[in-house]
Symmetry: C2
Subunit: 201 residues, 2 copies
């Protein structure tokens, strides 16, 4: 992820930067976790196939996911400024751009050490330990662990129509979505680390 | 889950029993979590459709999942007796029967208060707080949180050929598997609760 694919001007998006936390688990432990998720080189190939399908749809996907969030008070509340009770639009815009970038990074599937470190950073930014700090925001003190993990389902389940737009066979679309499910579960697992008791992860 | 569908003679399988822990989250909070997972009545219907397809394949599924576990040392080690370093076959047999019962319970999708309480119990039994106690075993002190969540992917991704055996259309098989993905993520989210820092779940 050395060049971040031209996204270095995205505020707060800084994989590979010295400001990013280092993964507490080693790369060997990460390999084990990929095996636990049945995440293989074949999944990498299908994710990369999905890149071409999704690269111009990343913002549409974010709009769709935010529609889901807006429909549920307990999720929509996460985006409110705690002082005013109103949506923090600046924070929302910054997070939205990184969310779209996340679609591309997931699909590129360059899951190297810098990526692994950044997943820990993503977990910290949802957790009370680093929430709001990147954007100097005053929104919810943290995303609850239950919503962090549970929203994995809301992320991947509605992706199918977007994956279908590439004109691939139903079987190939299915395999692309399977790879997304596995990567999503792999990622929320990594993101959950700051939420867990010492020694429990 | 009042009658446990004739499974009351399964050792250590006791939803609804006074010995089972109570869910620390309320049923209203559980409804919110289902929404986070986009888990709807339609998913319940497709899970129940999968019941007829899977009811005679539950043991085959467990055999398949255990084959995956056996192929990975870090997963296979969970089943070894810590004194002898050998697989604890009695423990393995008891867990295997409950694992098959879990397939049926997931597909029946009677996710009521007793089921919610039992999911917390399942989490505790994977966590150091209650691991080994049900079966008086001496296996691993706990399943690591990362493997508890990550194995959700290894559970659902290989189910497709089993779901296809019911002779339903590809679209219906797809919807059944989507419902399994959502339920699986809902469940590992609930199971993760004992692993999380106070206030983080």
């Amino acid at each position: 992820m050395q060049d971040h694919h031209g996204s270095k001007d995205l505020p707060g998006y800084n994989p590979g930067s010295p400001d990013v936390a280092k993964s507490p688990i080693s790369f060997d432990e990460f390999r084990e976790l990929k095996a636990t998720c049945l995440f293989t080189d074949e999944d990498v190939a299908y994710l990369r196939l999905s890149y071409d399908v999704l690269k111009d749809q990343a913002e549409d996907l974010v709009t769709m996911w935010r529609g889901i969030i807006a429909q549920h008070t307990h999720l929509a509340n996460y985006g409110l400024d705690r002082a005013t009770g109103e949506p923090d639009k600046e924070y929302g815009a910054a997070v939205g751009k990184r969310f779209a970038q996340w679609v591309l990074d997931t699909a590129r599937a360059d899951y190297d050490q810098a990526w692994l470190d950044y997943q820990y950073e993503v977990g910290l930014r949802h957790h009370r330990s680093k929430k709001n700090k990147t954007d100097h925001a005053n929104a919810a003190v943290q995303i609850r662990g239950r919503d962090l993990i549970g929203f994995a389902a809301a992320t991947v389940a509605p992706m199918r129509p977007y994956l279908e737009k590439g004109g691939h066979s139903a079987e190939t679309v299915q395999r692309m979505q399977d790879a997304w499910w596995k990567s999503m579960i792999l990622q929320v697992t990594l993101w959950s680390q700051p939420y867990m008791n010492a020694g429990d992860f």
